[in-house]
Amino acid sequence: MALHEALIALQTGCSGLLTLKQDDPYFKKRLPTIPYVHQGELEILDRLTQLGQHYRTLDEYIQNIFKDKKSGLYILSFAFELRSILQTYLNCLKQLEHECLIDTSLTLSHLLISLTDYNLLFPSLVSLINKLQTNGYRGCQILDIIRRYTLDGNIILSSTMKKLLCSCHKIFIKQITSILTRGQIYDEYDEFFIGLNNNINIEAMGMTTPSISRMTSTITSRSHSPDRDKQFNLQMPQQNPTITPGYSQYQLIPDMLPSYIPLQLADKILFIGESWLILKTNDEDNDKNFLSINSIDYDEQNHRVQQQLYALTLSDDFNIFELERIIEYTRIDLSLTLRNLFVDRFHLCNELEQIRGFYLIEHGELFSLFVNRTNQLLLNIKKSTNAIENDINEIFKQCLNDLHLETILTNVDKFKFKLNFSHNDNSTQETSTGCRRLLSRVQGISDNSNNSFDFWSCGWANLSIQYNVKYPMKAFFSENSKQRYNDIFHLLIILRYVQNELNNLWLILKNQHKNSLILHLRNAMSFFINNFQYYIQIDVLEYKYQQLIRSILSSTDFQKIKYLHEVFLSDIQQHSFMLLATAYQSIRNILSICVSFCLTAKQQENNNNFDENILRQFGRDFNDEIRLLFGILGMVQKHNALPHLGVFLTRLDFNRFLTNNNGSFGEF
C-alpha cells in the first residue's frame, strides 16, 4: 500500500494520502499521522514525495521550453538532455514498480536506496533551472551557469551536469564551426557571443550583401540525430538565419561570452569571421576570388576543421585547449592569406605611404605651399560651406600639380579636406580666453573694431581630412583609426600654419636692423615650434612609421599587422601628448598665443610701433605656458612614462637655458 503510494508520489509529487499543497515545496500539510504507516516510513515517504515533486517541476519546465518557440537553441538543447535524464529516472521507476510487483515484501527503504542518485541530482537540477528561469539566462550565458554546477565533488552530480553542458556545447561548437569555416554567424536567436554590429556607419553598410548560403543546412544536419533535426526544422522559420554582412560588422557581445572562453580566443574567432568576410566579399567591380591567392585547399581544410571540432563535442569534458589549438591553426592560415593579400596584392605599404603623405604631412613642401596659399582664406572663415571646401580642395590640387607630386600622391581623389566646425563649443572657447584678453587689450589701444578673434574657431583649427577608403582597405583603416589620424593631422597642420606665420613675421622684421624685444620673442616662439615640429615629425612619426613598415614586411600574420597599426596610432598619439590632457591643453594655448602674437604684430607692421606692454604681456603668457608645460613634462619624464619624451626635452633645453631660467624662454 505504502509502496504504491510512494510510486505514484515519485512520479507526480503527490498521492491520495500525501496531499501536498501545490505551491509549497516543503510540504507541511501532510497528515500528521497515518495509522497504518509507521512513523519512520512516513519520513521516507516524505522524502520520496519531495523527489516526485522535483521531477514534476523539471518535467513542467521541459514542456514549457518545448512549447515556447523563442527559447533558443541552447535552452532547447539543454531541455532535450534534461528530458533524457528524466527518462532514465522514469525507467528506473518502471524497474522499481516491476520489482515491487514481483516482491511485495520490499520496503520503502529499498525505493529510497535505489533512488539515492536522484535524491542528490534533482535538487541541484531544480536549483539550476530556477536560476536559469529567474535570471532569464539564455544562449551562451547558460553555458557559464551550467559549468558552475559541474564543479562538484560528487561524481554523479558533476557527470550529469557535464552531460548537460556537453549538449549545449554541441550548439556552441556548431556556431563556432560556422564562423570558423565560412565566416557566417549561424545564430537565429542572438545567442552567440559574436553578433552583428548594428551601429556601423552608412558607408560600410553600403557594401553589405546579404547572401543566402546553400551550405547552412548541410552544416546543421551533419552532427545531428534525425530526431533533433526535426525539432530544429520546426523551430526554424522560413528565412535563412545566416547572414553574410560587410566587413567589420561583427562585434563581440561581452554579455554572451562564457567566462571560461578567454577574451583572446574570442578575438581570434571574431578575426577569423571577419577575415572570411574579406575573402568572400565580392565588391561590385572586383570579381576576383581572393581565396585562390594561396594554394591552400579551403574545402579540405574546412572539412578537417569541422571534423576536429566535431570530435570535441563527443567527449563529455570540454577540451578548451584543443579548441584553442584548432582556432589558432585556422587563424594562422587565414592571417597569412590575408597578409599576402593585403601586402602583396593590395599594396598595403603604398596605401600607408599615401596616408603618410596626407595625414602625416610627409611632403613638407606641399603643405608649406598649401598653407601659404590658403593662409587668409582659412583664417577668416567661421563656418563651412561646400563652396569653401571645394576651393580648398582645388587649391590643394593646384599645389600638388605645381610641385609635380601627382605621380607620388596618386590617391588624391580619395582624400578631401573637410571643415568641421561642429565640436566648436564652449569648452574650446575657454581655452582661448588668454589670447582674447590680449587681443582686446590691443584693440583697446589701436581702436580696431574687429570682433574678438578666437583661433580655435577659425578654419585652421577645424580642418580635417576625409579619407574615402575603398574596399578592401576598409578592413584595415577603421573609422576609429581615421579619426586618430585626423587628430594628428589637426596638430601638424596647425603647427605648420604657426610656423609659417612666424617665418612671415621674420620677413617683415628682417629689414629693421634693430635688436628688439619682438625679435627675441619671435625667436623663442619659433624655437619652440620648430623643435616641437621636429620632435613630432621625425622623432616620433618618422621613427614609428619606419618601425611599422619594417614589422609589416617581416610579419606573416595579418591580425598582428592590424594590431601593430593600432599600436602605431596610439603610440604617436601618446607621444604627441594628446593623451595627456593638461600638457596638450598647454600646447594648444601656446599655439594660440603664437598666432595672436603674429596677427597682432602684422597689424602693427605699418605704424611700426608695437606697444611694448602688449608685447611683454604676450611674452609673459607664452612663458607661463612654457613653464607649465615644461613642469608637466618634467613630471612625466620622472616617471619614465614616455620613452621618447626625453628627446623633446633635450631639444628644448639643449643649452640648459630653460633649466637655468626656471623654465622660461627669456625675460619679457
Binding site: 634693430k514 621636429y534 618618422e542 639643449f654
Partner: protein
C-alpha cells in the same frame, strides 16, 4: 612654380664657384650639360624647379644670371661642355670689358652705370617664376667686380625686393699672408658694410680655411682653384639639398635661415662639410655614423672659416647650429648623437636665449654614388666670426693710416669729395663686431637698446 631661387654670379670668383655649383646640381638631378634630363632620371621625386625652369623644348635652364666686367671667366664657361645650359640672355659682360681693376669703387661705379641693363635681366628672371623666394649671390669680397658691383646690386636688390630673401655666398680673402690684391682690405671692408646692411644671410667662405682644408683633408700640397671651388660648391649644394630633395621640414629658404638668424644683423654663417673627398684621393674616413659626422662638423679644423674660439677675454659661442644630414639616417641615431654632444659639451651656446643643434634630414641624390652612408653639412651662426672681421680690419687700419692706394678710389664718384665712405664702412663693420661680441654675453637682449636710450 613656388619658392624659386635666382642665383646671381658676380665677377671672376662668383662665376667660377657658380659654374661648379651648377655642375654639381646638374649631376645631382640627372641633368646633362646641355640641360637635357638624362634617361635614368625621369622618375625622380626631387624638385628641380627651385633652381631650374624648363624651356619650351623641356630643356632645364638654371635660374641664374652671370655678370662680369671682363669676359675671361664667362668666356671660359661658354667654351665648356655647359655652354648650352645657361640662358644666353642672362649672361652679361660689360661692353668695355676692362674689368674693375680690383677696385671696389670701380666695380661699384660700373654697377651703377649698368644697373638698368642688369636689372632688366633680374626683373625678367624674377617675373619668370610665380612666387620668387629669394636671391643667392656668389662673389668674392676682395676683388673689384664681385665686391664693388656686388655691393651696388645688393643695395638695389634690397630696395627693389624688400620681402625677398637675399643670401650670399661670399668668399673672404686670405688674411695670413701677403695679399695678391693690395687694396683687398679696402674692398673687403666696403663690401662687408653692404653684406651687413643689405643681405639677409651671408655664408662666409674663408679662403684661408678653404686652403687649409684642401691641403689637410684632401692631402694636396697646393690646391688648385678648381678644387677650392669644388669645396664651395659642395657647401652650396649641400645647404640647398633640403629645398631640392624635400622631406618633412626645412623645405624653403626662409625656414633654413630664420632658425639660424635670431637678430637681423647676426647673419654671417660659417659652414663645414664632412666627409670630404676629391676625385683622385680616397677619403681617410671609412666609416660614417651620425655621431661621427656631427662631431666632425663641430671640429674647428673642418670649418670653412678660420675663427678664434677666444679673444679679448671672451669665449665665443654658437648662436645657432643647423646640421643637414644626408643619407640613410635612423632618427634615434640623431638623438643619441645630440645627447652625446651635450654631455661632452662639444658645443658652447649663447647664454641669452634657447639654442640647440637643429637637424634637417635630407635625402641623397640617387644619381651620385658615394662611399659614405652619411654625410653632413653644418651651417652655424658663431660669434667667433668677429675675429675674422677683426683681422680684415687690422689690415685695413694699417693701410688707411697711411692712406695707401686711396688715389685709385678718389678718381671715382663715390670718393671724389671725401673718404667718408671708408669711415662709414669701417664703423659699420665695427658695429657688427661689437654686436657679435655682445652676443657672447648674457645681456645681449638689451644690446643697442640701452645705448639708444643713453643717446636720447
Amino acid at each position: 612654380m613656388p619658392s624659386e631661387i635666382i642665383t646671381l654670379q658676380l665677377g671672376q670668383c662668383g662665376n667660377q664657384i657658380g659654374m661648379e655649383f651648377w655642375k654639381q646640381l646638374c649631376a645631382e638631378h640627372g641633368i646633362s650639360p646641355e640641360g637635357k634630363l638624362e634617361p635614368f632620371a625621369t622618375e625622380g621625386s626631387d624638385r628641380k624647379d627651385v633652381f631650374f625652369y624648363q624651356a619650351d623644348d623641356q630643356h632645364y635652364i638654371p635660374r641664374s644670371v652671370l655678370l662680369d666686367l671682363e669676359p675671361r671667366v664667362i668666356d671660359g664657361i661658354m667654351k665648356s661642355p655647359y655652354k648650352h645650359l645657361y640662358n644666353p640672355e642672362n649672361v652679361y659682360i660689360s661692353k668695355d670689358g676692362g674689368g674693375a681693376g680690383n677696385n671696389w669703387a670701380q666695380g661699384y661705379h660700373q654697377g651703377d652705370k649698368l644697373s638698368e641693363e642688369i636689372f632688366d635681366i633680374i626683373d625678367r628672371e624674377a617675373d619668370n617664376g610665380d612666387s620668387l623666394e629669394g636671391f643667392v649671390l656668389c662673389h668674392s669680397i676682395a676683388g673689384g667686380t664681385g665686391s664693388g658691383m656686388g655691393s651696388n646690386i645688393l643695395e638695389k636688390l634690397n630696395d627693389r625686393f624688400p620681402k625677398k630673401l637675399i643670401q650670399t655666398y661670399s668668399v673672404f680673402p686670405m688674411t695670413n699672408e701677403v695679399a695678391d690684391v693690395v687694396v683687398q682690405p679696402y674692398n673687403s671692408v666696403l663690401t662687408l658694410k653692404r653684406l651687413a646692411e643689405n643681405a639677409d644671410c651671408t655664408v662666409v667662405l674663408d679662403n684661408t680655411a678653404l686652403n687649409r682644408i684642401a691641403t689637410e683633408r684632401l692631402k694636396k700640397t697646393t690646391p688648385t682653384f678648381a678644387e677650392l671651388n669644388q669645396l664651395v660648391s659642395t657647401i652650396m649644394s649641400g645647404s640647398t639639398s633640403t629645398l631640392r630633395y624635400p622631406g618633412y621640414m626645412n623645405n624653403d629658404l626662409i625656414s633654413l635661415i630664420s632658425s639660424l638668424i635670431p637678430t637681423p644683423r647676426l647673419h654671417f654663417l660659417i659652414s663645414a662639410y664632412t666627409p670630404l673627398t676629391s676625385d683622385n684621393t680616397e677619403s681617410e674616413v671609412r666609416k660614417t655614423t651620425v655621431l661621427d659626422v656631427m662631431r666632425r662638423l663641430l671640429q674647428p679644423k673642418n670649418v670653412m672659416v678660420t675663427t678664434a674660439s677666444r679673444d679679448k677675454n671672451l669665449t665665443h659661442c654658437y648662436v645657432s647650429i643647423l646640421n643637414i644630414i644626408q643619407g640613410e639616417v635612423d632618427p634615434s641615431e640623431v638623438h643619441k648623437s645630440l645627447m652625446r654632444i651635450r654631455e661632452r659639451k662639444l658645443a658652447e651656446f649663447i647664454p641669452w636665449g634657447p639654442a640647440s643643434i637643429q637637424v634637417a634630414l635630407s635625402k641623397k641624390s640617387p644619381y651620385i654614388t658615394t662611399q659614405h652612408r652619411v654625410s653632413g653639412l653644418m651651417l652655424a651662426n658663431h660669434t667667433g666670426i668677429s675675429s675674422l672681421f677683426d683681422r680684415i680690419c687690422d689690415h685695413y687700419d694699417k693701410l688707411i693710416k697711411r692712406e695707401a692706394f686711396v688715389e685709385n678710389f678718389r678718381r671715382l664718384p663715390k670718393f671724389k669729395e671725401n673718404l667718408d665712405e671708408f669711415n662709414d664702412s669701417r664703423e659699420a663693420v665695427q658695429g657688427l663686431m661689437d654686436e657679435y661680441r655682445a652676443a657672447t654675453r648674457k645681456d645681449y637682449i638689451n644690446f643697442g637698446n640701452s645705448e639708444t636710450t643713453q643717446a636720447e
